[in-house]
Assembly symmetry: D2
Homo-oligomer: 312 residues x 4
Amino acid sequence: MKYSFDGPLSGIIPPLVTPLKDNETLDVESLEHLIEHLITGGVHGLFILGTTGEEQSLSYRIRKQMIEETCRINKGRLPVLVCVTDTSIVESINLAHIAADCGASGVVSAPPYYFATGQPELAQFYEELVPQLPLPVFLYNMPSHVKVSFAPQTVHRIAQNPQVKGFKDSSANAVYFQSVMYTMKDRPDFAMLMGPEEITGESVLLGGHGGINGGANMFPELYVNMYNAAKSGNLKEVLRLQQYIMQISSTIYTVGQHGSSYLKGLKCALSLLGVIKDDFVASPFYKFNAPEREKIRLALEALPIENGKLML
Amino acid sequence: MKYSFDGPLSGIIPPLVTPLKDNETLDVESLEHLIEHLITGGVHGLFILGTTGEEQSLSYRIRKQMIEETCRINKGRLPVLVCVTDTSIVESINLAHIAADCGASGVVSAPPYYFATGQPELAQFYEELVPQLPLPVFLYNMPSHVKVSFAPQTVHRIAQNPQVKGFKDSSANAVYFQSVMYTMKDRPDFAMLMGPEEITGESVLLGGHGGINGGANMFPELYVNMYNAAKSGNLKEVLRLQQYIMQISSTIYTVGQHGSSYLKGLKCALSLLGVIKDDFVASPFYKFNAPEREKIRLALEALPIENGKLML
Amino acid sequence: MKYSFDGPLSGIIPPLVTPLKDNETLDVESLEHLIEHLITGGVHGLFILGTTGEEQSLSYRIRKQMIEETCRINKGRLPVLVCVTDTSIVESINLAHIAADCGASGVVSAPPYYFATGQPELAQFYEELVPQLPLPVFLYNMPSHVKVSFAPQTVHRIAQNPQVKGFKDSSANAVYFQSVMYTMKDRPDFAMLMGPEEITGESVLLGGHGGINGGANMFPELYVNMYNAAKSGNLKEVLRLQQYIMQISSTIYTVGQHGSSYLKGLKCALSLLGVIKDDFVASPFYKFNAPEREKIRLALEALPIENGKLML
Amino acid sequence: MKYSFDGPLSGIIPPLVTPLKDNETLDVESLEHLIEHLITGGVHGLFILGTTGEEQSLSYRIRKQMIEETCRINKGRLPVLVCVTDTSIVESINLAHIAADCGASGVVSAPPYYFATGQPELAQFYEELVPQLPLPVFLYNMPSHVKVSFAPQTVHRIAQNPQVKGFKDSSANAVYFQSVMYTMKDRPDFAMLMGPEEITGESVLLGGHGGINGGANMFPELYVNMYNAAKSGNLKEVLRLQQYIMQISSTIYTVGQHGSSYLKGLKCALSLLGVIKDDFVASPFYKFNAPEREKIRLALEALPIENGKLML
């Protein structure tokens, strides 16, 4: 399916974890299982090779394989977005062509992340990059990892190219999200997507179009229901579901003491839930040892899960 | 009026600007005018000597005078909160006693801001400070200015003292706000107050109790209406009012190129609106020159203002 | 003694710790002992109320007392520099007048540290402040604590007022120090003073004028000898002394896990050495408990100390 | 030549710029010219694909070509170090094997720079990586670009593997450099190399082994002379040469307003000096326009250059 992008891309588009056997081996079987789990869970798209997908830690061979396998397994059922963030414009374009060849619907790009660009350099970079990309483009704001943030006016300038279809913000700064949304108010087809699941509900209530939420790897229905509740203005349901989302966030993502807690916790929980086989995390991170794994097990036990599904 | 704090402090409690004639002279007449303007506008409390009130730039003599005059003018009509943030615990306690003597309802405290404390030091500091304060206490998170952020668990630890009645967050990080709110869910009387006006609406929709919004100095009704709309779940009205709030934020607060844009723009607009006489900003900031002032004038002109009031 | 400042202020000017009994009580007897210890040790000046002196944590009453007692005890034997850094320009000027009245030789000022200024604002602030100060002025760069750094050109602009006599840099960034020194090369009377003792030797070798080194509170001779060795180009001696300086830095200042390790370790060591009585640290920091104190004791034991003096 | 590494690698090892015609075309002729220019200038090694070499902005094809061509042109005359910093451990190892196959003498590695690692993760990463690298390894500290800094104890832990031969520090924090050097004092064969040319002189005076200085691309003799002067303890000469180094640093590297000033200025100056043909800078940076180029021309004009050589 080539996604039409008539209106803004909307809904829950989970950033898939990349199931691995080791640094050089994709676990294709687990990927199949994960994708079926997500589609059954009602998500609106698949987003691969993002931060949650450990793009930067993977070799280019595995990045390519991940694109191919995802598109193959998906069989056009959902739009597939591929993150092509790179420090090299050439490699970014290469990856985007692979994505297009495999039938992906769009690419996602965060700023180059070794050299920090000023805003004019950042705009110029995207004015050079976007026309060389063979698919619709979504900008990805991720200042904690790439050191620079798109100024709202920079988003506006880059998005004058209609190939730019939306914006994903993982800054957690809701004032910033509101500012970008306000700056882009003349583009009703421009998707405003929230990264952190803890504030997807409120952003959709205020006019955002959906969430790229890592927790949906585990419990897709929870985040889909939150999106639907927020979209339809069902505040009571939003508040009810928010409690589960915060419980997950404050338990499963906070074991361990480094910035890697989220990723390790998520993969560990997915393996405990049986969604993926092993929770191998690519270097420079390393999966949890037994004591941390036990904490994740207890965190899952505290949730109303039956047969791997959250009872909402 | 001694505020009872039976339930959580709620509503719009504007952080008053401090009207000044120069670095050493409070403009009492403008303060009177400002307070009447706010009370007429329906706000739920007065918050003085915060960041918007330039506490740190003022001499202790003026801080004291500002407390005295505000309480005198208020005549007990609204709860008055006094920010007593200081690098010296002794001076912080001194200021709190002045506030209590003048009849204020509570004090607000951000962490000491010269030395950066670790979380255990921060908790220990408040366990030492709070019992020496003669009023209910609100914690104030302001990492951009004080360099440290209260970890949610630190808020929870400090708030085991029931004298701690609430939390104001100016981090703009909505994930963080949700985390603190979730951590404090066992304390229904604990007020969760939002600093940035751009996200007060969404935070109240999600269970927050109100906003300490600088823009309310100009247009108290706008923020009061937003609070009421969000509290009653009137999403359509929230979205309508949000457009005005974002227009103000993206015009009046963005003139000039330094972090001081917000404060200079706000005081400049207040003087153009006739709420205060002069827009003197205390050192180390300096009020706008003519070209910037003209931009603020144009920003106000673009709003539907009649007789100094925003026509909502 | 009124220091003449004919040439640049030079040598080792220790930033005195402030001996305390509690948050509100200066330990005057320990201060007397400390000052005699330093003068006997050959230091070239006394610098009080700096970061090591915990200025910001002290009440104004104690700041005043510290100035008065230091000047009284010093009896004009050495130039006394008083740090008057404040967020309020009025309080800064007040403190400077107390310093002048007590016979201090100069004041030191870091930028206001609550609001972060842009460079033009910073320059304008000092152009307003300096003429109101009754003593020669030294600028103090301390970005980790005050969030802003003086751009080299800003130092140059502020120092066009000849009342500005020097610059203390605590950034640890030696490229920056070289840049400021190069920018000020037309002012041979302008003192370039290094904060961190670990690099005072190399900065003096390259033309710097001395160090404001906390370790000199413990072992004044070590830092004085380092200054003399570097000034006279005795490289072998510089390298020999550097080993002691690094041993101290990597043991006494690294116990504990927060930014406060340096201050706590220094005060703890001073009390173990008998230079001051108690190692009380003002809130929001707290002195070491027994296990950390034991580590400091062992660190001192590893140094060739006899009768409280480092055997060089 | 396989470099023996009997003693610590020492001297000036310039980080070569990568001469480019466009994002996908290496300018081999300019590279030849540059390498002859450096060898004639007396440098002690060649360091390619570092930050100055824009590794991250280049495609893997060009990275490979740059290694091959450099080793071919060098003909074993100098040790060649190849930067293999990557976010993917697999790609890092791949690049190192290319370097070994081409006859390079060592590889240089900064921490993965998308995900920020904690210190234990960082140590574990290098304990996994180093044994898979076919050449001696130099650690590269570059916190401004990779967000994490090697703690001195982490360097010590990683360097327990004798394959780790040295450390390059580009933090500009001289206290940090001293701390690492002190921590590694039991390893006399471990090379301590300074990145910023502004402080190479002082670091060598204090026991450092040399500099990886970008300015040596332009004027190799200046930095080689500085190294020799510092190594032999000729302080007068160090001070004399330091003036040129600071003049270059404060003029050629400060045109433009973004972090890219250094790289753009260096390449622009090299093209004006005729060392390389074009000053093309890889995306996301862009070479200077005419007005900035004119400023660089004037900066060069202010130096005593004859026939492209600095008259020392």
